[in-house]
Amino acid sequence: MANEVCLRNLDQDRPWLLKRYQAAGGYEVLSRILKENTPPDEIIEEVKASGLRGRGGAGFPTGLKWSFIARNAPGQKYVVCNSDEGEPGTFKDRDILRYNPHQLIEGMIIAGYAIGATVGYNYIRGEFWEPYRRFEDALEEARAAGFLGKNLLGSGFDFQLHSHLGAGAYICGEETALLESIEGKKGQPRYKPPFPAHFGLYGRPTIINNTESLASIPVILEKGGSWFKKLGVENSGGSKLFSISGHINNPGVFEIPLGTPFSELLEMAGGMKEGSKMKAVIPGGSSAPVIPGDQMMDLTMDYDAIAKAGSMLGSGAVIVMDDSTCMVKVLERMSYFYHEESCGQCTPCREGTGWLYRVVSRIENGKGRPEDLALLDDMTVKIAGRTICALGDAAAMPVQGMLKHYRDEFEYHIEHKRCMTGG
């Protein structure tokens, strides 16, 4: 069973067009809600029942998030979609924007209806020019068809939706930095609390969800929360998009039920490349600690199983590495990324990510010192959990994962000033 929710229209020709989406039953859920004046609480309850958890990486229950908004509080409220897909290894939301933009639009309108918001923003990653253009075209179609604007389908409900193209900062994928960026400010996370549900975009109550989460909404409401929930396993309802890449034959995006064994996902992705043996897998984007390959083959792809193995499902970005891979080199690359992408606002991340990178880099380059591994251990503890946002944790966790499973490679590098894999 695959491609049942966000990618269910992939078999069609040019599925991003409104007529194709409508031909497959698109916007019917929205039309029904508007016609029947469905009580918003019912919608929120259905989303809760679906067990949908935030698909951006944190896995917070979507329905619960929606229920935090005081729906009847006066004044403007906002729905914001986080399409700033920047986590290295992740490329699933891009495909939703490219192939199923109308399902996202429909999901956002329903979310707006559920929380009493009349304006939405879709913040799209700066490098996603093609998906941005396609989403913009879809918005135009939806506006022309009366799904966006004033008095939708004569219901009296108004909803307008805008897309906003980022400028290439990873940190703008952090929800409050994203809000700052929409407001025209420097993309820097806000201190929380207050959370966006109380003080969000322009200081107004705001829900901010991942693209995949919002695009799942129409299907959940069409087929029912329990149907969605049953696709997956306990505590991990529904199906999920996985972007799998690395030393495999068929990298790409696969929508599979949560709880599917990793081995099946690997098989769908064409298995390991000819002659290569799996060494390690990063199961949830670059921030997730690495898991050794043999351990990974025994895991299922759901929140609990991956967490139990000491990592996280994150955004569902699976990076598969074979035994030619030097883990020191991998960590150097990842540490450079976090060093480069730290917003610079708070001390541990601004200063710590650069220091982490420099130490890993000197190990990789044959200049490591025996005390460096203890230094790395110590630094990660001083960064993780001490910063304004989760970027500090994101920078520390891969280091901790690598040193936990592949410490010997680091020691070898320090001692022999070269790589044990010969890479």
């Binding site: 900062a169 940190i171 420097k186 201190y191 060093h339 480069e340 992408e341 730290s342 917003c343 610079g344 606002q345 708070c346 001390t347 541990p348 991340c349 601004r350 200063e351 710590g352 990510t353 650069g354 220091w355 420099r358 230094l375 503890v381 001083k382 959990g385 001490r386 910063t387 304004i388």
Partner: protein, 769 residues
Amino acid sequence: MSDDQMVTIEVDGRKLEAKAGELLIEVTDAAGINIPRFCYHKKLSVSANCRMCLVEVSKVPKPIPACATTVNNGMQVFTRSPLALAAQKGTMEFLLINHPLDCPICDQGGECELQDVAVGYGSDVSRFVEGKRVIPERNIGPLIATDFTRCIHCTRCVRFGAEIAGIRELGATGRGEHMEIGTYVEKSIDSELSGNIIDVCPVGSLTSKPARYQARAWELVQREAVAPHDSVGSNLHIHLRRNQVMRVHPKDNESVNECWISDRDRFSYLGLYSEDRVTRPLIKTEGQWKECDWQEALDFAAQGMKKARGGDGDQIGALVSPTATLEEMYLTRKLMGGLGSRNVDSRLRQGDFRGEESAPWLGQSIADLDNLNGVLLIGSNVRKEQPIFAHRLRKAAMEGAWVGFVTPFELDMNYRAEQLVSSPAGMISDLAAVAKALGLSGSLVDDAEVSDVHQRVAEKLKTAEKTTVLLGNLAVAHMDYSLLRHLGALIADATDSVLGFLPEAANSVGARLVGVAGGDGLDSLAMLNSPRKGYLLLGVEPDWDFWNPSLARQSLSEAEFVVALSAYRSASLEENADVILPVAGFTESSGTYVNAEGIWQSFNGSVKPMGEARPAWKVLRVLGNLLDVADFEYNSSSQVLEEARDSSTIQPGGNSSTPGELNVRTPAAGLVRAGDVPLYASDALVRRSNPLQKTNDAISAAVHVNPQVAKDGGFSAGDQVMVKQGNTGATMALVIDEAIPDGCARIPAALSGTGELGGQFGEVTLEKA
């Protein structure tokens, strides 16, 4: 939960009472529990970015910042538990990796928050062996030196600009380690409160350019003083080394200046060390100046005064700077009284003395300004006249207060305000129209034409809860000041607003209390219009301190004898005086100022007067003795103060204005001068502070007109034009400025090149030079 609900929390085992919703760091600060911090500042928004104040809170797994955590009942806080200390030390290590560890060559060394905290939380040896971040020096103007290599990115300076100064001149650009504080495009920091970023900066990243590398913190002795410029009376700390003022800092006084001071108050001290300080008495004989000893000079002065007086005390008069101390003012009046003269005045820049007014109080407390809901300012460029009042009013505006201005040129605002910009004559009609919109009648008012704007102003003042009508320096200098004041009083009365004044100088109010302003003798203009035979000048420079400098110079030069008590010599003083008695400058003498609110603030001398200069009260005292004035035996300035206080019957209270004749003197047609006194031209001290004179607020003499007026006269920007005002004239550059209304030429006063002109307001014509 209401805000005033009290909760109990426990910090390090100590029970503390706090208001619900208060920040943890406020509670611990009040209880004297020290939590290290860099980005937190009591007057700025919380940013929680430095992570130095991380503490452990029960039931919270991670250490959390005390600056961003509100207290809850029963909360248990551990500021020095292993978790808290590890977090604090961790942050310190990160802060120090890129911070230069060269405190001995840093100007902040010895008074650096980072250095202090590092002693407690830093490690003795750095584990960071890589190269440190370096940022080239950025030039942000003549007042503030930058060394951003030392920056710890706390953003206090950025938040100060956005939240207090009201102009975002500094910001953070770049990400991660490349994050940098700066102006982005190289430019100077121009806020009139900019120097405060030196104080908020916890490290040596922003330091005082004039004071940098001049002294070490531990060499300095701290004394207290009161700012000598505007009528706020900001409290100061004077930092001295070996009888020299090395720098000036604010002294916290929540009800006056909070923890801020204006740049004028901070950097004017440099004027003390100007080359034209008078350090020995000077007398002029046969047109030649020569230095002499005090005995000779005092005898010369006393004889001269006696001779000029002849048999009629009314033939002499005293013109006193409104920045003189209360003691000096009191003794001047008493000295003149002893000589039979009641002619003493410090209102040197007032353009119209018709009618009567109460002492120029603010009419409310300074702190009250924060909570106003509606404010009408008449002829006040408050931001450049009394910057701290402007900051208070901005606070009110940010909370939603309506602020309006009746002004002869558009003002540069740092918040949204309604400006009624019209020519000097138009200011009167605007106020009359507002009065009419309020349903008032009478002469001036009846003929007014009411527009929507006037209706709106009337409506705002009438409906807002706490409102005030304030008269500023430009109103006082207006040739129809008594009419502006009268109309302002009518409007205030009809809208239940407080009538208040924003007095020009440090002791404008004090002058009134001791009869040096508003006494029963001649006012300053009358003393010059009907020239006296003898004048006593106290702290006054003829070219720059008078409403009409041409008239002043003429009357002084025709007098038989002029004695000047001054800290400085200047060309116009040397031209007109017969004797210059060198007196103490700012910080060199004890004294008292009464601020706008009516607070008497006394201060001691911090340093010895330069050279042979003496405190002016001592000079006056000896002059009194030489002239045989009765009861003139004082041994200390506090004795003078006591007597002055006993003699003064005026108490702060309701302001009043009684109109005189109500005819309008301002020409309705033609071009009328509006002569403001620029921020850094206000008095002799500030005019000599080189760094302030290099700022963008230190403008040069020019005539500012709008494009239409320039076009009508056939002028282009930059043309040298001859300004004719009555029988006076001066040549200066023409500036085309959209901010000037029709019928108005803004020609600032008190600048080099404007001393040849007439009154600050008056009809002018322009010709190509």
